[in-house]
């Protein structure tokens, strides 16, 4: 079994080593540890508890037998730009200065990984420990030339930053986008991360982002995933927030053959709060797996999670959320909710909402429910002259609205609403 696992990882390493760029922004110690971990542990299969419902090993074996890394160049991303936002473009894992907007905003510093100073280099990999997860290790070993984004202390950015991750390949490929985002003390920013896949061939995106929110900082982040049939991705967000800080994320997944989101938030100081929201719709043979961890390390913090899924055809939805309250984290308030609707007889939903609690003065709860479209509600609408199909649409829309409403960037919200309605 072990030999078999190693093979997948080894195969990937062999195939992408030749074309991979030099990773000189991460120190050698971490790089060798990453390779070691990868070779020893392999790509996780469903025997791995964290990947029980998301057999990535099988996906690589089935869909990425012939990784050739023929990556396309992109010359234009006009169609994907938002009107009132600053756009940063990452093509196949590498930051593209020519496609990105010129940064002339006060307090916003963007440095590509190739020109980092010593302090910034040290920050890379502090939240994403290469020895905890195979995909963190894989990304570390073959990291794309990403960027370091810093919002200076006391700066409140008025316009959102739109980071567009475009992948496009002429053969099966694996790309490893990576970034570091740092919100300074008392700083505020809104960041939209959008993932698209536009080539003719399948691309596996192994995304990794480390996000730091300093004291009293506020980060509103939106993740929008719409990669289509050729998109396979594992997306890891490692977030750490400090005293009085606030972190908000809303993840909308509309398409992608495989989407696995690892969203790990460390509430590292007192009085901070984190909110994670998610909405996904799946069809055909898709698999969307949302994996979250709220790591309450200190007292008086608050966390909230709301994930909703609409699962159709032969697709599978997964929600695995863990609230982890450490010994000292008294007065923790943590809530988690997962609601799902199954639309087809062949659809599957697996949920695993976990609580792991070592402090007694806490209020923690979770709830999850799964059902079909409420027949009584459909009848109510039928009785008022609304046909079955429209009634279903209306009800699903209402179901999704709770999450979509969390988006405060109007342009993005409208875009997602339109696409969501088309999906139905």
């Amino acid at each position: 079994m072990l030999a078999e696992k190693t093979n997948t990882a080894q195969l990937i390493i062999d195939k992408i080593s030749a074309t991979a760029g030099k990773v000189d922004f991460i120190d050698n110690d971490k790089l060798s540890k990453a390779l070691m971990y990868l070779e020893n542990k392999g790509i996780p299969s469903n025997k791995h508890e964290d990947y029980k419902y998301c057999n990535t090993d099988a996906v690589f074996k089935k869909e990425f037998k012939n990784i050739e890394q023929k990556l396309n160049t992109i010359s234009d991303v006009k169609n994907y730009k938002l009107k009132d936002a600053l756009t940063i473009v990452v093509v196949n894992g590498n930051y593209s200065e020519s496609l990105s907007d010129k940064i002339i905003l006060k307090g916003l510093h963007l440095t590509s990984f190739s020109s980092l100073d010593k302090e910034q280099k040290q920050k890379i990999g502090t939240l994403a420990n290469v020895e905890t997860d195979a995909f963190i290790a894989l990304n570390t070993a073959f990291s794309g030339a990403g960027f370091y984004l810093k919002i200076a202390d006391n700066e409140q950015l008025q316009i959102p930053i739109h980071i567009l991750y475009v992948s496009s390949a002429g053969s099966e490929a694996l790309v490893n986008p990576r970034n570091v985002i740092e919100i300074g003390k008392n700083a505020e920013a809104t960041i939209i991360e959008e993932q698209i896949c536009i080539g003719t061939e399948k691309v596996f995106t192994n995304f990794l982002s480390e996000k730091f929110v300093a004291e009293n900082g506020k980060l509103k982040s939106y993740t929008f995933q719409n990669e289509g049939k050729n998109g396979f991705s594992v997306n890891t967000n490692q977030v750490s927030i400090e005293r009085y800080a606030k972190y908000d994320n809303t993840t909308i997944t509309l398409s992608g053959s495989l989407v696995r989101n690892n969203h790990n938030v460390v509430l590292a100081a007192q009085n901070c709060e984190a909110h994670l929201n998610g909405l996904f719709t799946t069809k055909d043979n898709q698999l969307v797996d949302n994996h979250t961890l709220m790591d309450h390390q200190m007292p008086n913090c608050e966390s909230n999670e709301l994930y909703k899924g609409i699962i159709n055809d032969k697709s599978t939805g997964v929600f695995n959320g863990k609230i982890f309250v450490r010994k000292d984290a008294q007065k923790t308030n943590a809530y988690q909710s997962s609601k799902n609707i199954l639309l087809s007889d062949d659809a599957t939903i697996n949920t695993k909402p976990q609580l792991e609690i070592y402090a007694d003065d806490v209020k923690c709860s979770h709830g999850t429910s799964t059902g079909k479209i409420d027949e009584v509600a459909v009848f109510y609408l039928n009785a008022r002259g609304i046909g079955r199909e429209s009634a279903n649409k209306l009800l699903l829309n209402a179901f999704a609205q709770e999450v979509i409403d969390k988006i405060e960037v109007d342009e993005l919200k409208e875009k997602i609403l339109t696409l969501f309605e088309n999906e139905l």
Binding site: K327, D345, L355, D360, S365, S369
Partner: protein, 484 residues
């Protein structure tokens, strides 16, 4: 204040920690095919059963020891250090209670199961029929004759093997095959005794059936097996209780319980588990690794598990129901209390296969001291299990800041008509609740008792009368002044 009270409770001793000095016939420690064969010989077992044991043993050898997937921490068990058979030196065939070793009877009296009493009351009023299992063998089954008039078979497993081999052959291992897991394989190889119960068609068992398990000898493990078969339209309520003496060593208890419910049958299985939990430093105590599973084989059947778990150093137990028949019902009600260094990883599995199947899970965990208490459960709705319904509720109560309470529910749904709900909360006893009671002249300790009892009520209500009283007392003893 809280600490003082906690302290007081931590110093509380285990009240069933006595040993009984009776001659026993015990195997030397060790496990190999010769031991399995000798065990089988000792019990005059037929060839097919020996073969079953050996198959299980060979399979067990191929299995890796479970790695720590459960939220438990315990030292490696040396399976060669355990004696796999210990029996009170018995005279062949006991005809009446007078022939039972008086020391044994005293033990049961101490435990509050007076076999004498039962005997005396027989015929006067309906009571509980008891099968008492002492170390590895069943010592006496009461009321056997009364039950057999109705066609009910209730006897020790060894007797059943000899007297009703067809029934045993037909049902044993059908719900928990020896390949199921590490401890099930071990039990299948070395099980010593246990209870067998068969309720014939259309019979409603007139009394509660009960098994009491007691580990007495040192250096032994207990491996019993219970098999309950409820034929068409029958009903039985079954109780199980367990205690063990106080010892510095860890003793292993690995049991299997299988329940089969035919068409329209109903089985209610209640457990009050109070094995020795170890002392306050975590020394000694029973390692309790139990595989319990029932199958609602045919339509409209029902299996209900109720458990009150207060003992054992380590509890690893997931009473499950396979809902195969249409319209079948599975229930799981549990109160698990851990204190000091105890660790429990317990829960249930509800596997929905038939149409219109329903299951309910109510789990209440209470952790105090340095203990860890986990709920681990699976609700699986298979494809084709249309209109299935599950409701799960797992609440945890934490007492003190050094313990842990965890919830690991797995929910897998493959049918769109299923409605599944799960909710869990973790909290401590509210200051306002305590204040409310105190304001009305109820002191701290009583108030805590009141609140905890209320917290567990949903589950305790499901226990048969005789057991409910015992369970309430047990909770009170285990909890005395432990909340802060």
């Amino acid at each position: 204040m809280a600490n003082e009270i906690l302290e007081e409770h931590i110093n509380k001793d285990y009240e069933f920690g006595f040993t009984t000095n009776i001659d026993s016939d015990t195997f030397a420690p060790g496990l190999n095919e010769a031991v399995v064969t000798a065990l089988s010989k000792k019990k005059n077992e037929p060839e097919w059963l020996l073969e079953f044991r050996l198959k299980a043993f060979r399979h067990w050898l191929t299995l890796p020891e479970p790695n720590n997937w459960a939220h438990l921490n315990y030292p490696k068990i040396n399976y060669q250090d355990i004696s796999y058979y210990s029996a009170p030196k018995k005279k062949p065939e006991l005809k009446s209670l007078d022939e039972v070793d008086p020391e044994l009877l005293k033990t049961f009296e101490k435990l509050g199961i007076s076999l004498e009493e039962q005997k005396r009351l027989s015929g006067v009023q309906s009571n509980i029929a008891v099968d008492a299992v002492f170390d590895s063998v069943s010592v006496k089954t009461t009321f056997r004759e009364t039950l057999s008039e109705k066609g009910i078979i209730f006897c020790s497993f060894s007797e059943a093997v000899l007297e009703f081999p067809d029934l045993i052959k037909k049902y044993m291992g059908t719900v928990v095959p020896y390949t199921d897991n590490y401890f099930a394989a071990l039990n299948s190889a070395v099980f010593s005794d246990g209870s067998f119960c068969y309720i014939p068609k259309g019979v409603r068992c007139p009394m509660e059936l009960s098994t009491y398990f007691r580990i007495n000898a040192t250096g032994t493990g207990q491996f019993e097996r219970t098999l309950i078969v409820a034929d068409e339209g029958s009903y039985v309520s079954y109780l199980e209780g367990c205690t063990a003496p106080q010892r510095d060593e860890n003793q292993l208890h690995a049991a299997i319980v299988e329940i089969i419910a035919h068409k329209d049958a109903e089985v209610k299985y209640s457990t009050v588990q109070n094995w020795y939990p170890g002392d306050k430093n975590g020394k000694g105590g029973i390692f309790n690794f139990v595989t319990k599973r029932g199958i609602c084989l045919e339509d409209n059947s029902k299996i209900s598990w109720t458990q009150v778990e207060t003992g054992s150093a380590i509890t690893w137990k997931y009473p499950s129901v396979i809902l195969k028949g249409n319209n079948s019902v599975g229930e799981f009600y549990s109160v698990a209390l851990t204190n000091n260094m105890q660790e429990a990883d317990t829960g249930t599995k509800m596997i929905h296969i038939g149409k219109n199947t329903r299951s309910t899970i109510i789990s209440k965990g209470i952790s105090a001291g340095f203990s860890n208490n986990s709920y681990r459960g699976l609700v699986q709705i298979r494809k084709g299990a249309t209109n299935s319904r599950n409701f799960s509720q797992c609440d945890s109560l934490l007492m003190g800041d050094k313990c842990g309470a965890h919830t690991f529910p797995y929910i897998e749904i493959k049918d769109k008509t299923a409605v599944v709900e799960h909710e869990a909360t973790t909290s401590k006893i509210g200051e306002d609740q305590l204040f409310y009671c105190k304001q009305r002249g109820i002191d701290n300790e009583k108030a805590i008792g009141l609140i905890v009892n209320g917290y567990c009520k949903e589950v305790l209500n499901k226990l048969p009368m005789e057991f409910a009283v015992e369970a309430q007392k047990l909770l009170a003893v285990s909890l005395e002044g432990s909340v802060g």
